[in-house]
């Protein structure tokens, strides 16, 4: 049989694959030895000491402290060794390097929205350059999903309400499976697609082509557009205006003091909370005058706003750069335009602009609509 048609190991396409496979085969070897030796003993005894056999049964042993201690101690030591090894691999998997390239992922029933730093968006397909640290910042819009790439040996859950992160460095050019690995409803098994690892040059070209073709906005541009559309700039200007509105210029990663003396670092989660529920943490010296945007913005929109604020929140683009959107080519993926730039027109009727409020009727509607589209 041709082994290519009968594979027993997934492709090893990321920096984790090496250490993970070593760990896997080490545990496999250990388990095999344990299982085979123990079971061989069982079978051997069952045959040797079967009733009526002439095997020597003199002086049977019923308790042997030394033996017990050996088979308590030996597995304990092995267990601790493998624990340390597994924990080390896990720490590598969980903690991204500082300068990793950040890609945003939004999971919803039943598709993945992916947005690259320069604004190129895609659905259910993730294009990444080889040999580059990629950090995915992920959030779910409805239920829990999991972003799983077997060839990269990594996955992480995508939870509604908070950001999770995972990272990897692809090491092999090719097309690999992308799965949703947390049961999420009717079309769970089809919520996936592929990860396409390209050479750095191809990736740059792909980004540029997609960008020019579709005139997508970068997250910062999209955020800026939204910023002016919903009128954030009316209050949040270049200067602090207590007690009404603090300036957002260069807000990201600053330490902010609340009116009760608590201090928070203005990270993504802080900014997200401040947009959605501004009364939650009041900045020292400011009144609670800002309206809540909870249930009014999609997660993509919040991400765009955060990107804009992370970028300094300084309006920089001339208005002409914000071009009208063109329907994206993801139509072929699932029969309708996904989260391309027209999602950022922020009309609430758009299928992709489902607000973060997730009443039952809404989800049913979305379910029915997508079911019709995604029929095989």
């Amino acid at each position: 049989m041709n082994l290519a048609n009968f594979p027993f190991s997934p492709p090893a396409a990321s920096n984790f694959a090496g250490e993970m496979d070593t760990l896997f085969y080490a545990i496999l070897a250990l388990s095999t030895v344990f299982a085979v030796v123990t079971f061989a003993y069982v079978i051997f005894y069952a045959i040797k000491y079967r009733a009526g056999s002439s095997a020597d049964r003199s002086s049977p042993v019923y308790e042997n402290m030394k033996l017990e201690l050996i088979w308590i101690g030996f597995p304990t030591i092995l267990a601790i060794i493998f624990f340390v090894w597994g924990a080390k691999v896990y720490a590598d998997l969980r903690i991204p390097p500082k300068d990793a390239k950040e890609i945003y992922v939004v999971g919803k029933q039943w598709m993945w929205h992916i947005q690259h730093p320069n604004g190129v968006r895609e659905n259910n397909t993730l294009h990444v350059p080889i040999d580059t640290d990629i950090k995915l910042t992920m959030i779910a819009q409805d239920v829990i999903h999991a972003f799983y790439i077997p060839a990269f040996r990594t996955q992480f859950m995508v939870v509604p309400g908070r950001y999770t992160q995972m990272w990897f460095r692809p090491t092999m050019i090719g097309k690999f499976h992308l799965f949703c690995n947390m049961y999420c409803g009717a079309q769970h098994s089809e919520m996936g697609g592929s990860v396409i690892v390209m050479s750095k040059r191809d990736y740059a070209e792909w980004l540029a082509n997609n960008g020019s073709m579709r005139q997508n906005l970068t997250p910062i541009q999209a955020g800026e557009k939204l910023f002016s559309k919903i009128g954030c700039g009316n209050c949040h200007g270049p200067a602090d205006l207590p007690p009404r509105s603090p300036s957002l210029f260069g807000l990201y990663n600053k330490t902010r003091e609340m009116d009760n003396g608590q201090k928070f670092v203005a990270d993504e989660t802080y900014i997200r909370e401040s947009i959605l529920r501004p009364g939650e943490k009041l900045l020292k010296g400011y009144a609670n005058t800002m309206p809540m945007y909870d249930k009014q913005l999609t997660e993509d929109e919040v991400m765009a706003l955060i990107a804009f604020i992370k970028g300094g929140a300084v309006p920089s683009l001339p208005a002409s750069n914000i071009a009208a959107s063109v329907p994206g080519h993801e139509a072929q993926v699932n029969g309708k335009a996904g989260l391309n730039s027209n999602a950022l027109e922020f009309n609430a009727e758009g299928a992709d602009a489902t607000p973060t409020s997730r009443g039952k009727d809404l989800s049913v509607g979305a379910m029915a609509a997508e079911k019709g589209d995604q029929k095989r």
Partner: protein
Amino acid sequence: MSAHGHADSPVKFQYEDIDQQNDTYVIGMWSFMVTEIMFFGGLFLIYTLYRMNYQGDWWKAHEHLDWRLGGINTANLLVSSMLMALAVRAAQLKDRIKVMTLLSMVVACGGLFMAIKYVEYSGKIVDHLYPGPSFTTNPEILHGANLNHAQLFYGLYFGMTGLHGVHVIVGMLIISFLIKFWYQKKKVVTEDYIPTELIGLYWHFVDIVWIFLYPLFYLMPKPFTVLGGH
């Protein structure tokens, strides 16, 4: 066979003697109460986590609760616990009239507790403070608390005090049956005080749950986050 299984003997056929049976009953009851502790423990866990996360809003939301009504109920349950303990003592002394009197007073205390709960709940329901889609949208009622977090607070308030209330009602029903048995001079209860003791254990457990619920819901300290704002 020995003298087991007589219909009117308090010793069940699987036991050797009354001591063994009583011991087993007490151990069974305590292990049942361990499950009750874990049962309420799950709710206390949820409560603690969200209380830590939303200190300020929960404090503001709790301002709507009346600590005096809760205090009356605490005292009420305390008295009923003492009466229950005295009823068990009377059962030990086989003083039938006293047992029935004391148990009736315990049921009356339970009734008073539920009546006060009724007053509290109906006030909340008028204000649309029960969780769900029709939860109030008026932040004035909640002293300016975030409505989402206040809804979580009231969800747990109704969940935990409601579950406790269910236990109180169940306890009242059981005690009523106990009074009936004493009234009918059933040997199960008159010959041996342990059935009364077991029901007493249950009633004290219900009291203990309230001992924790009262400070957690009615007597919240003002959190630091709210303090700083004034």
